[in-house]
């Protein structure tokens, strides 16, 4: 016992002995050591050994510093700086900036203008002269320039190229894709956004520069130069204004590019923008207005900075001044724009604008006075001296107690209120743009829209994850490098303070951004309900309650996961560079782990399906692949790896942050078998629970339960079981991280474990089972279901999010194979190996497996009935062949060249080129044509009479076209393809042009008829009929509708002609012949329809056979169509064709009721849709046949002297003519002989609901010429 004590004493005193030998022990220690040495021989031996070591060790004298080292090094450093790429890049940027500066004719003059106006109006002319005199080599300006560069302010070239690349390139791409509307809208949105955002941003930068000057004590130096305070103040304001002008130029360029195009878009409600020139004039006006705003803002910034004493709360007076400065300043810009834009004269907007302008001037003067007073205040120096000591920023509110947060937030934005305001505005406009993008998403077809939405959510989440992780790790590594971590640790922070502080630091800005974005999207959605409901555009609603929750939670969870990863990464990184590298590795690794989980689950599920021969509901697939299996797999994987990860993280933290060997971080009870039990127990539990849930879900189809039919108990059980499983897994995933990161500031393992467990439980419930829970709420009637159900895409995304959260923690720890001493940045390959070798290998394996099995499954499911396949292939082959044949006929051969004027306008609109004089003439002529495009023929005629000039031009153009048209029609191969392309306002240029010609011919015929030239009129009518027969739509249904609507115009006009005039027998026979040329019977008519109708019929059959998805795929492969068109096409088939079918075709949990589609002919199914697209097309068929019937009736009258009693009596001069069948009703035309003539009626009796269910579509359409 005694021996032990003595040894223990020696042990205890050894460190003191060591220090004593080196003469570094304290006085008490020295006394103690000496006393001990006298009584302990062993220690004397040790002392002697150590002394002999010191004596005998070869000491190395340190040589002197080489002479001239300093001068040599300076020269070398300067030479190397010349060569360094970043220095060169800065210089290049500066040169570009200078070039841009020169583009502004007189920046100083421009800057002076608003200042002069400001001060002159405020009545402080006494100081104008001195205050605005710019001097060469002003020390303040020089200092400002340096400071700006140091603080990271970007040169104008940066903004220019930023605007160019960020906004110009996407806009150019959109334009190249022939989406001019989108391109213009994009540019305008962005331009307007920048107009508001950039001044704010620069204002914030101004504040940052000022603060950094104060911190660096540069303000003292400025004061020491003996400059007058007002001069300093004005120089600062001028500086801000100048930087604004530099920024304003690129912004103006963006706006200039967007504005002329915007005039197309906004012409209806934004009057001044109709004229591009006037719109362009807005840019300088804006610059001027913002110049005033900015100079006032700069004074405000100075006042704020000078009066906020060292980061303390500014006095209420200062705050009041600041507020008073900002509100009117912002209003000025808005109302000033209102003044500039208001073409109607001074209205309310302009009155408000000038009111605010006046108040702004006054406030600007006040700000300047305050700044000057602050600058010249006798206590100023003293205050700045005091402010150099780090203090807490009370503006951050509840975070005040955590120095990390305080410092980070302070660093984040130079002044919190201004920073937040700036952030608000900088983020607000992009958010609106994002909302716009979401709206664009709404135009996509339903499936791709859902997917796109969730891809967007996942993308934003991924970005948030990356940003949070890199931010956390970089900041922590920086602290570590700066040796400020130790004081932080020693400052008595509790562990939760420390960890939560870092998470707040990483997540708070992101959450702010996300909240702003969400708020703005919500605002936009509320302002334009149709964006979400989509009803206005016939777009079904996609965002339902569950989706909204899920999106929100996904966005909330991702930054958190990223912050955890970042903390873990920095814990094992030696420096920032390495932390960055590890983040990259973590990103890769997390992706890989997700692929592993997803691949594994899908593979297993597929195998199960094949082995058991089961048929799963989509919802079961979703539930299984999306949640259960990934959870189980990841749980096991992560639980196994977390033990090693924790140990290594602890070791690293211990050696790096504490620098010594303190008592072990984890108590011995955590070691050995007990630890293994603790790891394996929950892992087993997790897997059992996951398996249980898996079985429950598996049992659903086996027990013949659908998801909707399952009892709430089953739902509840599966949800709770899954949540528990994930809770345990999450606890084990996150616990090591928490322990590792928190252990250096405290010892409460239980608390961190509880935190991690809670997080895991919440994450488990939210991530896996929220879709199900939402559904449950709906089932119980607690929540009203607004939209569709939870879809495949959502749960995929949840698989994604789950994978990210879990994998992020795992991969962020990145500790599978960490060497003990690692500070050098590794090669990419090494890093990948180190961080992600296991997941990478496994994921590749599973990816291959997944692909193989997926391919097999795809092969299995593609075994559709051979007959259908052959039929479908034949149809496709025929369609493709026709397409090729049509394309093979060149423009020359087709007779297009003589018809060039007809298509001129289309080409112009597509290419957006300038007009030559000849083209302009042609265009003028065709503008006349377009003008007669709409309206009743009688009205057009009257209008033409009222406007002889226009009538002349129209006639000239038509005369020019007619010979060419006649010649072209002699060629059998002459076919005019109506191609789909989006013109302005969603029009189809081809269609407009063709309609122009058809209408023109009909109008001319009507004119001839009125002049009494019946033969000429009939000639033109027949020409029109033949012309309209040659129109051929490219693409499915919609172009068929278009071409038939044109035929309808021609037929309607000739019908009117026959109705109004008594024709001779040869004339009637000619009409009949022209009619029969194209179509002899209803069935023949159908046969002769273009590919579209033929194809549509097959599609219809396909739908009835339940093969719509396959057909969709075939379509997509064959046709390249814009999304809006595609969406419309889908509606025709899924809704007009299947009126009884509920809209959720692919919803995971929706009840799908398939009704047998009404057994009507394809034509009768299509007709109601025709009417929606074009009223005239609705009666195309019946008109066609009615024309024939009328001609025959007339012939009958000519031969017998009276109309027949029934249609059966009609003599037919042509073969194949039986009873006049009405293709719409499928029955006879209703015919009645009257006293004055006859009445022919086509009754459209539709037995199904069309897609707009409110429409009144069951009434018949009547057509009756009477004599």
């Amino acid at each position: 016992m005694k021996t032990f004590n003595v040894a223990n004493e020696c042990e205890r005193l050894f460190e003191a002995l060591s220090a004593w030998i080196d003469g570094e022990a304290t006085r008490e220690e020295a006394r103690e050591v000496q006393a001990h040495l006298e009584g302990c021989a062993a220690c004397r031996e040790v002392r002697d050994a150590l002394c002999s070591l010191a004596g005998s060790a070869p000491t190395v004298p340190i040589p002197e510093v080489p002479s001239g080292f300093a001068a040599r090094t300076r020269k070398l450093v300067e030479e190397r700086s010349e060569r360094a790429w970043d220095v060169r890049a800065k210089r290049l940027a500066g040169r570009l900036g200078g070039w841009l500066d020169r583009l502004i004719p007189a920046p100083q003059g421009l800057a002076k203008g608003p200042l002069l106006a400001l001060q002159g109006a405020a009545g402080v002319l006494d100081q104008v002269a001195e205050g605005l005199e710019p001097r060469e080599a002003d020390p303040v300006s020089a200092l400002l320039a340096t400071r700006t560069e140091r603080s990271g302010a970007r040169p104008p070239s940066f903004w220019f190229f930023l605007a160019l690349t960020t906004y110009g390139v996407p806009a150019a791409l959109l334009a190249l894709m022939d989406e001019m509307n989108l391109a213009a809208g994009f540019l305008v949105w962005v331009g307007m956004g920048l107009l508001v955002a950039l001044p704010w941003y620069h204002f914030r930068m101004d504040v940052a520069v000022l603060v950094s000057m104060r911190r660096g004590r540069c303000l003292e130096e400025i004061l020491g130069t003996g400059l007058e305070p007002f001069r300093i103040v004005d120089t600062l304001a001028w500086f801000g204004l100048r930087s604004l002008l530099r920024v304003g130029l690129p912004v103006g360029l963006v706006l200039l590019a967007g504005t002329p195009m915007a005039s197309h878009l906004m012409g209806s409600w934004w009057a001044p923008l109709r004229d591009p020139l006037q719109a362009a004039m807005l840019v300088p006006v804006w610059l001027l207005l913002v110049g005033v705003f900015f100079s006032v803002g700069s004074y405000a910034a100075q006042a704020m900075v000078l009066f906020s004493r060292g980061g303390e709360r500014p006095s209420p007076a200062t705050l009041a001044v600041a507020l008073a400065l900002f509100v009117p300043a912002a209003s000025l810009v808005g109302s000033g724009m209102g003044v500039a834009l208001d073409a109607e004269g001074p209205g309310l907007l302009s009155a408000l604008g000038w009111t605010f302008a006046a108040s702004l001037l006054w406030v600007g003067w006040l700000g300047r006075r305050l700044s000057i007073w602050g600058m010249g205040h006798p206590d100023a120096l003293e205050r700045w001296n005091r402010s150099s000591a780090p203090r807490r920023n009370r503006w951050v509110g509840p975070w005040n107690d955590n120095p990390i947060v305080v410092r980070e937030v302070t660093r984040l934005s130079a002044a919190i209120p201004l920073g937040v305001l700036g952030l608000l505005v900088v983020r607000a406009i992009p958010a609106v743009v994002q909302a716009q993008a979401f709206w664009f998403l709404c135009v996509l077809p339903e499936e791709s829209r859902t997917l796109a939405f969730w891809m967007a959510v996942a993308g934003i989440g991924w970005y948030a994850w990356l940003r949070a992780s890199s931010r956390t790790s970089a900041a922590l590594a920086q602290e570590s490098e700066g040796q400020t971590l130790e004081p932080l640790i020693q400052s008595g922070l509790t562990r939760q303070d420390f960890v939560s502080g870092w998470i707040q630091v990483a997540c708070a800005p992101l959450y702010l951004e996300l909240a702003l974005t969400g708020g703005l999207v919500l605002m936009v959605a509320l302002s334009f309900p149709e964006v979400l409901s989509g009803d206005a555009h016939g777009i079904p609603r996609t965002l339902d309650l569950g989706s909204a929750f899920l999106a929100l939670l996904a966005l909330a969870a991702m930054p958190l996961a990223g912050a955890w990863t970042g903390l873990a990464v920095s814990a094992v990184s030696a420096n920032r560079r390495e932390a960055w590298g590890r983040n990259v590795g973590a990103a890769f690794s997390s992706l890989m782990v997700w692929i592993v989980a997803w691949g594994l689950s899908t593979t297993l599920l597929t195998v199960l399906t094949l082995v058991l021969g089961l048929e799963f509901e989509p919802s079961v697939w979703v539930a299984l692949s999306g949640s259960v299996l990934p959870a189980g797999v990841l749980g096991l994987t992560v639980a196994g790896l977390s033990a090693r990860a924790r140990t290594r993280a602890e070791n690293h933290l211990r050696t790096r942050w504490e620098g010594s060997d303190p008592e072990p971080l984890s108590s011995p009870s955590w070691r050995g078998g007990r630890r293994r039990a603790l790891i394996l127990g929950p892992a087993a539990l997790a897997s059992v629970l996951a398996l249980g849930r898996f079985l429950v879900v598996l049992a659903l189809p086996v027990a013949d339960l659908t998801m909707t039919g399952a009892s709430p108990a089953v739902w509840l059980f599966s949800s709770v079981a899954g949540a528990l499983a994930l809770a345990v897994v999450g606890w084990w995933v996150l616990r090591p991280t928490l322990i590792a990161l928190a252990d250096h500031v405290g010892r409460s393992v239980i608390l961190s474990a509880v935190l991690a467990g809670l997080f895991g439980a919440v994450a488990g419930i939210l991530l896996v089972d929220l879709p199900l829970m939402v559904r449950l709420l709906v089932e119980f009637g607690l929540v009203e279901q607004v939209g569709g159900s939870v879809s495949m895409g959502e749960v995929w995304t949840w698989g994604l999010v789950l994978g990210f959260v879990l994998a992020a923690t795992l991969a962020g720890l990145g500790l599978q194979n960490l060497p003990a001493e690692e500070q050098e940045p590794m090669s990419f390959r090494a890093r990948l190996h180190q961080v992600g070798a296991v997941p990478l290998g496994a994921s590749l394996l599973f990816l291959v497996l997944w692909l193989v099995v997926g391919a097999y499954l795809g092969w299995r499911t593609s075994e559709i009935p051979e007959q259908d396949l052959v039929q479908t292939r034949e149809i496709l082959a025929r369609a493709v062949e026709r397409e090729h044949r049509r394309d093979a006929v060149g423009a020359e051969q087709n007779g297009f060249t003589p018809l060039e004027p007809v298509f001129m306008r289309r080409a112009l609109e597509r290419r957006q080129v300038g007009l030559s004089r000849r083209h302009q003439e042609l265009l003028d002529g065709f503008q006349a044509f377009s003008w007669i495009n709409g309206g009743d023929p009688q009205e057009v005629l009257e209008a033409l009479r009222a406007n002889p000039d226009l009538a002349d031009r129209s006639a000239t153009r038509l005369d020019a076209v007619l010979p060419a048209l006649r010649q072209a029609l002699t060629r059998p191969e002459f076919v005019v393809p109506i191609r789909w392309s989006e013109g302005p306002n969603g029009a189809v240029p081809d269609f407009i042009l063709a309609r122009t010609l058809t209408r023109g011919l009909a109008t001319r015929a009507r004119m001839l008829e009125e002049e009494g030239d019946l033969a000429g009129a009939l000639e033109l009518h027949l020409l029109n009929l033949r012309w309209s027969d040659r129109l051929a739509g490219h693409g499915p249904l919609i172009t068929a509708m278009i071409t038939h609507s044109l035929t309808a115009i021609a037929e309607e006009s000739i019908l009117g002609f026959v109705e109004r005039n008594r024709l001779t027998e040869p004339e009637l026979l000619r009409v009949l012949q022209a009619v029969e040329e194209g179509r002899s019977t209803p069935q023949a008519h159908l046969d002769s329809l273009d590919d579209e109708f033929s194809y549509a019929m097959r599609v219809f059959d396909g739908i009835r056979a339940g093969r719509i998805e396959e057909l969709n795929e075939e379509w997509k492969a064959m046709l390249v169509l814009p999304g809006s068109y595609w969406d419309r096409e889908r509606q025709i088939y899924t809704q007009a064709f299947l009126p009884g079918r509920q809209s959720t075709v692919s919803g995971a949990l929706g009840t799908v009721i398939v009704q047998e589609p009404p057994a009507l002919s394809v034509a009768s199914a299509l007709v109601p849709f025709f009417e929606r697209a074009n009223y005239q097309a609705c009666l195309a068929f019946s008109r066609h046949l009615a024309l024939r019937a009328v001609c025959l009736l007339e012939l009958h009258r000519l031969r017998t002297g009276s109309y027949p009693a029934t249609l059966a009596e009609v003599w037919s001069p042509l073969p194949g003519w039986g009873q006049a069948q009405d293709p719409l009703s499928g029955g006879d035309f209703l015919y009645r002989r009257t006293a004055r003539g006859f009445e022919l009626r086509s009754l459209v009796s539709l037995k199904f609901r069309p897609f707009d269910q409110e429409g009144d579509r069951t009434e018949g359409h009547l057509w009756f010429p009477t004599r």
Partner: protein
């Protein structure tokens, strides 16, 4: 203990008194931040002695030390504007020196004493003939220690650096220098005697 550690670790600017030398360095840093080349030269002159001592101690090679320091000052010049606290300039500089030296040592370890002799620096051993056997044993014992122990022992026993210099050079707290040195010595004695303090008990 914790109190002592925390005061040792407080960054320079937090200490109530600011020495004239620190004040001078801070001024130079601020001038360098404004791009003053002359300030750079002054800064080098002010700090080269301590930086050189550390670099040479770690690298044990005159030429490598000089190259290293030139790299270091280039880094300093290029990233000086990132330095938030000009009063921490010296600590910052020494930290960069240590990083740079460690990186260099990873590519090529420091010269042994023999190489040092060849390079022109004479190790001042007390008496080669008498102590040869003992010295060989020490070299072997030293080689048996871990890199961390060897580093701290070398800096203290051979380079005769003070505890504070070692703390700055290795970026560890003063208390850690003490404990690490003690532990290294303990292990050194164990390696030297084959049984160490257990035998002495």
């Amino acid at each position: 203990m914790i109190q002592e550690k925390s005061t040792t670790l407080l960054s320079a600017s937090d200490q109530a008194e600011v020495s004239p030398r620190r004040e001078l360095l801070a001024r130079l840093v601020r001038r360098m931040q404004d791009g003053d080349g002359q300030a750079l030269e002054c800064f080098i002159q002010e700090t080269q002695q301590v930086a050189w001592r550390l670099a040479f101690s770690l690298l044990r090679d005159r030429h490598r030390a000089e190259d290293c320091l030139q790299d270091v000052y280039f880094s300093v010049y290029r990233s000086v504007h990132q330095l938030r606290d000009p009063y921490a300039a010296q600590t910052w500089l020494l930290r960069i020196v240590t990083h740079r030296c460690r990186r260099l040592l990873r590519s090529r370890p420091a010269a042994s004493l023999e190489e040092l002799a060849e390079s022109g620096v004479e190790p001042a051993a007390p008496d080669p003939t008498e102590k040869t056997r003992e010295r060989l044993g020490m070299e072997q014992a030293l080689a048996r220690l871990g890199p961390q122990d060897r580093e701290v022992l070398t800096l203290r026993e051979m380079m005769q650096l003070s505890y504070e210099e070692i703390a700055q050079g290795l970026q560890i707290p003063l208390g850690t220098v003490r404990s690490r040195l003690a532990k290294a010595r303990q292990r050194f004695v164990q390696a030297l005697t084959g049984k160490g303090r257990e035998g002495s008990r």
